[in-house]
Structures are given as C-alpha cells and as structure tokens.
Amino acid sequence: MQETLFLPLIIALPLLGFVILGLSGKRIGEPAAGWLASLLVLGSFLLGLVLLLQGGARWTLAEWLPGIPFSLNLDNLSGVMLMVVAGVGFLIHVWAIGYMHGDPGYSRFFSYFNLFIAAMLVLILGDSLPVVFIGWEGVGLASYLLIGFWYQERVNADSARKAFIVNRIGDLGFLLAMGLLWSMFGTLSISELVEKVEAGGYSFTTLTLAGFFLLIGAIGKSAQVPLTVWLPDAMAGPTPVSALIHAATMVTAGVYLLVRHAFILHGDGFLAGLIVTVGLLTAFYGALCSLGQWDIKRIVAYTTLSQLGFMFVAVGVGAYWVAIFHIVTHAFFKALMFMTSGSVIHALGGEQDVRQMGGMRKYLPATHLHGLVATFASGGLVPLAGFWSKDAILAYSFEFGPWLWVLMLGASVLAALYSIRWYVLVFWGEYRGRSPSGRTNAHAPGGKAHPHESPAVMLWPNHILMGGALGVGFMGLPYVIDYKNFIEPYLTKAIGDFPHEKLPVVTEWVLIIISAVVAIAALWWGFRFFQQQMPAWYERFQTAALQGFYADAVYNALLVNPAKGLAELLFVGDKGLLTGFAGLGSLMGGLGGLLAKLETGALRFYLAGLLLALVLLLGWGVLR
C-alpha cells in the first residue's frame, strides 16, 4: 500500500476529459472528441492496472470536512471493479465512437460519458463514505444526463427524471446510514469502520439498522424490488449508455457497496434473509418481464434486473466474492448483449422493435456471433463466463438452504429462456422489417433497405468483449475443478475472510451437472418454442409482462399521484397559512373596533367617562 498522487490522477483523467469536452467539445469535433475521451479512460485503466500490480495504493487528504478525511483506497476489491469499469468502459467508449456518429450532440455525449467514468471511479475508490457518496450521486447525475441525452423528446426527459428521483430514495438510505455510523463510531472512513466493528462494544441491533440503510441505498442504485421501475425506462438513453451504465457498471454499484460493507452485513440473519428475498424477487420479476417485451433494449434491461437479483442473492448468502465475480462476468456478457443489440439497431437505422427484426444472422454475421456468445453466456451454457459465476451462486445458495437452490435454479431456467428468446427473435427466422420506404433515422442516413454490418470501430470492442464473455469465467472455477482458483483468495483479501463450510465434492459435482444440464435443456427448449406461433396462455402472460406487471401503474396510483395531489393541497394550505396570520391581525383589528365603538362622538358621554374616572381615581387616592 503506497501513498501516491497517481491514485487521484486515475479519477482526474476522465474528469479532465469532461471539462475539456464540455467547454470546447464543439471545436474538437468528430471523431477526435470520441478518441480523446476513450484514450483518457484507457489511461485510467492502465494507470489503475499498474498501481494494482504494485499492490494497491492509498491517497488521503486529511480533514476534508471536520473529522472526515478525503481518502481513496485501491485494494483488490476496488481494483477488480476499477478494471471492469475502466476496461469495459473503454471498450464501450470506442464502440460509441461509431454508434454516435453524426449525432449533433457528439462531443456532449463523450463529455458526459467521461463524467460518468470519473464519478464511478470515485465511487469505487472512495474509502471515506462521503467520498463514496460523491461518486454515488455523481453517477446518478451522469445517468440522468445520459438517459435524457435526447431531451428534446418528452419521454426521454421524463425517464431521466424518474431515474434520478427513484435513485434519490436510495440515496436517502445511504445518507441515513452515514448518520447512523457516524453516531455509532464517530468515523466514516471504511477502513477505520472495519477496525471499530471488529473491536466491538456497540449494539448489534443498531448495526443491523445501519446495514438496512445501506441496503436501501443499494436497492435504489441497483434497481432491486421495489425500486426497479426506473431501469427499464432508462433505456431511453443512447445504447452505449445502456450498455455502460445500466448494465455493466453503475447498477452493480449497489452490489459493490454491500460487498464493501460485508463486515457489517456478515452473520446477520435478518439482513441476509432480506437481501436474499429482495434478490430473489428481482431475479424472477426481471426474468418474467423480459419474456414479454418487444423493445430490444427493454428485453435486455429486464435481463439485467434479473442478473442483479442473482448478485443480491449472492451477497445475501454470504458469497461476497461470488457477487463480485458475477459482476465481472455479467459486465462482459451483458455489455456484449447490449452492444450487439446496439449494432442491430444501428444496422436497421434506429429500429428497436424485435417484431421488425429477425434473420439478422444472414445480414450481420459478425454481430450474430457476438449475439450467440452473449446468449450462451447469459443463459449459462458450459463453459462460458456466465455459467461459472452462476454456478457459484447456486452452490452457495444450496449451503444457505436447498429451497433457495431450487428457486435459484428456476430463475436460471428463466434466464436461459429470455436469453434465447432475444437471440431467436433478433437473429433467427426471416427479416420481418419494413420496405425501403420505412422510417429514416439520424444513425442511418437515407434509411437503407438492407441491414448493414457495423464499422470496425464498433466490431472490435465487441470482439474483445466476446473474448471476455468466453474466458473470464475460468478465473473463478469451483474448487472441485480448480482447488485454488484465482479470484476467491484475491478478493477475500480485501473483503475480509468469512470462512464457510465447503460442500462435499460429490454434492458439488451433482449441482454443477444439474445446473449445466438444465441450462442446456432450457436453451434448447426455448430455441424451439420461440420459433413457433405463440400459444394463447403465453400471449396473455406477455400482455401483463409487457407492462412490467403494472408496477408503474401501481406506483402512480399509490404513491406518485397522491404525492402530487398532496403537494397541491399543501400549496393551497400554505396560502391559507398566510390568511391565518392575516386572521390573527384582523382579530386585533376587531378588538380595536370594539374599543372604537366607545368613540360615540357625544360630548356628554365623554364627560361621563371623565367623571367616572375622576371618581375612581379620587376614590383610590382618598380611600387607600
């Protein structure tokens, strides 16, 4: 661990890009702006890699606020996240150079993109909770700006706003967690908190509450049940945004936060149960919704939800390293899935409805390959990345309770189904798109009749991601295959070692085989099923799923509209408040008016008063 000024530099590079592009992006122009942004992120990646290989780094600015240092910490955990964020982030940046080609807001896009990377890096590297919170809200801001990137359309602006507001509910949890931890331990530095929690001398119930607050924060950021609603709408942003922010990195920040605070969560039955419940619900909800969508990006968005649910379950059962492992593999295959979708959208001139697609394997062979790998990785086919991380989650779930394992197996069947559905609808069958007179779009000037393969700048990032989706799983093989895999000890060094009973070898093997077979079966069945005409029961299910099982409607009816109504009511009431004060004034006025009635103007009346006063005063003086 070295104190080094290079650590804040990792953050400063993309931040510099944000400033430069924000101030003079128009002059830099296309495509230099994109390359500049990408290279800065690459710089961060390389710098981070060097520091990580040197064994991590720290940087502290003491007393940023009274009692709160501004400290950054690059350890194995944040290092892995840094690799994912900067690495995958770089690839998506490059891909976006092609995707955003010709957009009037080209440089603005990359400026925001760099801002996001910077904020995300602050979130990851922050060692002091307020610093983490800077990143936490910073990514929220970047997400807001990017979802509403095409803010000319009301829908996009609305979605962006919704995302920000819902995220803020989570932020409130984070804030309260800070308040509670501060009042308990008098510090907000994570590394100090670790020591103080180990030292003991506090109420465990209170610590549970702190964990609960953190969980709320994580739920908001990772779009878990019940705060899922913003993520599908967030697809209003450009596709690279969906790939980077709403699949690979930002939404996993909640998981990262929980893993970072494993020392608080660990061994707490209540929190474990809660997290598992939330994760399970999200995994099923996301999967089921995904099966009903027609918008290609919303399909993928819901699959992301489902996968985030898996990660939460992993955290809940105490498999912290597995959660991070899944983040890594998920970052690869989900980014790949999104960017494949993006390539298809790009090829079709902005078309996003899968009913207007199909048969793409003929037109876009390279993209088809990417899609296929993404599908298999996401569906959990042996031996792709997704299989290994999901298998680890399943194994830990079995330790937690066989019932959980069964449920999780069900969720992974659904995962296989939605993956293959996406694949079949987009790439298989015949092209169902419109004739050349179809819609035209900025991304494909002229509205080409035939779908066209993407340029190299978009293909190469996908090639690399495909390699990742194929290969990264091997760094986390189960112990029965690779007794000491790479990632588990590497991460536990940073997370803290929470020993657990390893499953017997036979059980482990059985579980692996079952999960592999089930995945293959589900993929095959889905491949057949989604090519047919849909049966009626499926149509009905689809209608409900398309609306996200009416979650938005329920929220609007129960929360949003009453809140708005109450706001109106309070506004009127507040005006009434002033009237109330005015009423207080007229009360005094009325009292004065009553006194003024004595002012009759009749001379004799006044004289009588004089006489009365005289008698009284004299009487008081004389008889006293």
Binding site: R161, F164, L180, K564, L578, G585
Partner: protein, 473 residues
C-alpha cells in the same frame, strides 16, 4: 479595515443615490472593493476567536458600544454576502437607484455578521429591512402593497419580543454592557432563559425562516423585481441561523435546552413540508422561496442539535445557500429577461438555443438540491451527522426533502429547458453573463470540493457551542 469594509457600501450607495450618473460601474467597483476587503480579512484571520475586534463607547452609560469583530462564521458570511452583491450588481438589469439600495443593504447585512454588541446587532438587523422594503416598494410587482405589509409586519412584530428579550438578557443576566463578551460571560439560566429565548425565537424564526413563520416569504419573492436582485438580497437577509448561533444560544443555552424538541420538530417538518409545497409552485420565484425554506429547515435542524458537526453544517449550509440561492434568483432573472415570464408550467425548451444558459442552470440546480461535490452538500452532510445523533427520526423526516427536492427542481427544470421540439428562440449568454456564470460555477465547485477552506475556521466555533450546550442530548 473592518470599518471601511462595513461602511463603504453604505457610503457608495448614498453617493450613487445622489449622483445616479455614476452608473453601474461605480456600484460594481464598490462591490468589488468590498469583496476584496472581505478576502483580505479572511486571509489575515488567525483561525481562533474574534479577530479585528474594536470597541468604542457609544452610549457608555447604557452599556452600548460600537463594537465590531469577525469570527470564522462572520468571515464566511461576509465573503458570501460580498460575493453575491458583486454578482448581483454585475448581472441584474435594474435602475441605478436599485443598485444604490442594494449597496446600502449590504452594509446592514455585513453589520449583522460583524456586530459584537447586542444593541448594534439589533440595529443592523432592523435597519437592513429599510432598503429591502424600499426595493420592494419602488420596483415590486402589482400586488406589492400586500407583500410589503406582510413582510414588514412579520419582521417588526417578530422583532419586538426579541427587543424585550435583549433587555432581559442584559439586565436579568447581570452583564455590565451589551457587549457579546460581557453577555456571554453572564448567560441567563432556568425559566428566565427559556422565556427570553422564546423572544429571540420568534424574531429569528421569521428570518430563518422556520415553519410556520415562513408565510411572508413567498409573496415577498413573488412581488419583487423580476431581475432577481432584490430576491438575492432577501436570501442574504435570512440570517436567523446565524443569529441563533451567535446570540441566542450562547446567551441562553438553557433556552435551547427547553425549546430544543419543538425547534427540531419545526425545522424537520419545515424541511419536508416546504420541499413538498415547492412541487406545486406556479412560478420559479415561489419555487425557489420554498426551496430556501426547505434548506434552512435542514440547516436549522443541524444547528438545534447543539453539537459540533451540526453547527458547522448549519453555518456552512447557510453560507452556501446564500451563494447558490441568490445565484439561482439572479439566474431566473436572466431567464425572465429572455422569456418575459416566470411561470413553471409552460414548456419552453430553452436549451436548444441557449445551451450555455442550460448548463449554468443545471449547475445551480444541482448545487441547490445538494449534489455532492457542489456547494450544498458539505453543509447538508454535516447537519445530517449532527442531527442524527440527537434525533434519528426527525432527521429521517427532514431528509425526505432530498427526494422531494429532486422532484420539484427537475420537474420545473425540464419544462423550462428540455422537451424543446418547439423551442422558443432566445439568445444565449452574452459576455457579461459569461462572467457571472464563470464566477458562480467556480465558487460552487470550490465550496463543494474543498470545504476545508471554511470548515477549518467553523470547527472551533462548533466545538465551542457544543461545549456550551453540554451533553444535553
């Protein structure tokens, strides 16, 4: 130096009133010199206690001294006030006489923060009202008469109990004079303290403003000149938090103990209530008025916690909200200049033709809703940390405003700038406005990213107050 800094703006204002031909340049020069003096004073501050103290007998028989001095909080607020006045006279499109009143008001505000004698504090506290009323009277909207009535009545009626309490503090406390040092050495105790504190409470709650005595604020802002300059000055005039911190609590710590529960409740409830109400505000000024009430609720929550973090947070938030709140009003003045209206409901889509204006607005808005890294956050965080120790539930209630703030601010913002398929064609920032934007953004970032600059000096004050208040929590 401190005397020059205090009286120069008044002098400049009077000169400008007599010779309006000197124009805006003169006002800007005066404001710039003021800011310069504040910064020099800040740079020369030793970090402990009251610096630049001076005291001259004024009415020695009555124990009144013309005593000035600045501590960390006073310096922070001096800089904030001077900065906002400079920004205001720089950017606002108003008649020259308006600028003169602004400068005169600046002296009053600086005096409030520098006074070390309770009578002089009261004098400045009340005298500042005059230019404020004049601005409203000469340049207000059609329905200004009522706003003036409301504003003046709330302020004056509120101040009378405080005046009574001031004498109670001096004579029942047994101090020899109205000097701060003297009074603080003889604090009131017990029942007397709680009654006298109540007197201060009423006056200061009007100026904080605390629910439910905020009722004058919306009409005040609605009726003021659309340039936003008067509103900015009004924002600076929200000195309640400072006065609580500087006078009410040190002189009557028992009073705070007595009323702490009520005050915490009012602060927390006001924070969420005002944020919620702001959602339905029909125009930007009303929205900002309620937003201000909400923020001050949070600050008050921190201060009334009576511990070090809370106090630092409250003062920092006060200073920061002076800057971003005022800047927001001035910004809305720029919007008014372009659109001629302040209503929130119509879709205007200004971003299309005025991207720089949009970015500036985004910055200010994010600072206002407390985005970390911008000026609002450090104060909010410290207030939260302090308040949570005392009352977790009220903290929770107050910080629901975090969500509400995002809702009201972004909704109105979206209407104004986004959805611009049929955008109103408006000019983007000109050179003068660029200057305003650059300074504002720089200050917002500085305050957000390097709060230590000021908290370093606020921290001892917070500790002192916490020590005074003792572990009554």
């Amino acid at each position: 130096m401190i005397h020059v800094g205090l009286w120069l703006p008044l002098l400049a204002g009077l000169v400008l009133l007599i010779m309006p031909g000197l124009g805006r340049g003169f006002a800007i020069a005066s404001a710039a010199i003021s800011l310069g003096i504040s910064l020099v004073l800040f740079a020369g501050y030793g970090g402990q206690g009251v610096a630049y103290a001076s005291q001259t007998p004024f009415l020695p028989e009555a124990g009144v001294y013309y005593a000035l001095g600045l501590d960390g909080a006073g310096l922070l607020l001096w800089i904030a006030v001077s900065l906002v006045v400079l920004l205001g006279v720089w950017i606002a499109d108003v008649p020259v006489r308006f600028l003169a009143y602004t400068l005169m008001m600046q002296t009053g505000l600086l005096g409030i923060f520098a006074a070390q004698d309770l009578i002089f504090f009261y004098f400045f506290f009340e005298a500042t009202l005059i230019p404020s009323l004049l601005m409203l009277w000469f340049y207000g909207g059609a329905d200004r008469l009522r706003a003036i009535y409301t504003f003046a009545l709330f302020t004056l009626v509120g101040s009378l109990p405080m005046l009574a309490a001031i004498f109670a503090v001096r004579f029942l406390g047994g101090a020899d004079s109205f000097l701060y040092t003297d009074l603080a050495a003889n604090p009131l105790t017990g029942q007397t303290a709680s009654l006298a504190f109540l007197g201060f409470m009423v006056a200061l709650a009007v100026k904080t403003p605390l629910f439910p005595l905020h009722a004058w604020l919306p009409s005040f802002h609605q009726q003021n000149h659309p340039s936003g300059l008067a509103d900015a000055m009004g924002t600076l005039y929200k000195v309640g938090i400072f006065a609580f911190f500087k006078w009410a609590i040190p002189l009557m710590p028992d009073g705070l103990r007595e009323w702490q529960g009520l005050l915490l409740f009012l602060a927390a409830f006001g924070a969420i209530y005002a944020a919620w109400v702001a959602f339905s505000a029909p125009d930007w000024k009303t929205l900002l008025a309620y937003a201000g009430v909400s923020h001050m609720g949070v600050a008050a929550l921190g201060l009334f916690s009576g511990n070090g973090e809370g106090t630092v947070g409250a003062l920092y938030l006060l200073g920061a909200s002076m800057v971003y709140g005022s800047a927001m009003f001035l910004f809305i003045g720029l919007v008014y200049k372009r659109t001629g209206s302040l209503e929130t409901s119509p879709v205007r889509g200004l971003a299309k033709h005025a991207p720089a204006l949009y970015v500036l607005g985004m910055f200010l808005l994010m600072a206002m809703i407390g985005l970390p890294g911008l000026s609002g956050f450090p104060g909010e965080l410290m207030a939260l940390l302090g308040a949570y120790k005392v009352s977790p539930w009220l903290t929770f209630v107050a910080f629901l405003a975090v969500i509400a703030a995002a809702a009201y601010a972004l909704t109105a913002f979206q209407k104004l700038f986004q959805e611009n398929t049929q955008a109103q064609a408006v000019p983007d920032l000109d050179t003068r406005e660029w200057g305003f934007a650059a300074v504002t953004v720089a200050v917002l970032l500085l305050m957000g990213l390097y709060p230590k600059l000021f908290t370093l000096y606020l921290e001892p004050l917070g500790k002192a107050l916490a020590a005074l208040f003792g572990g009554a929590s």
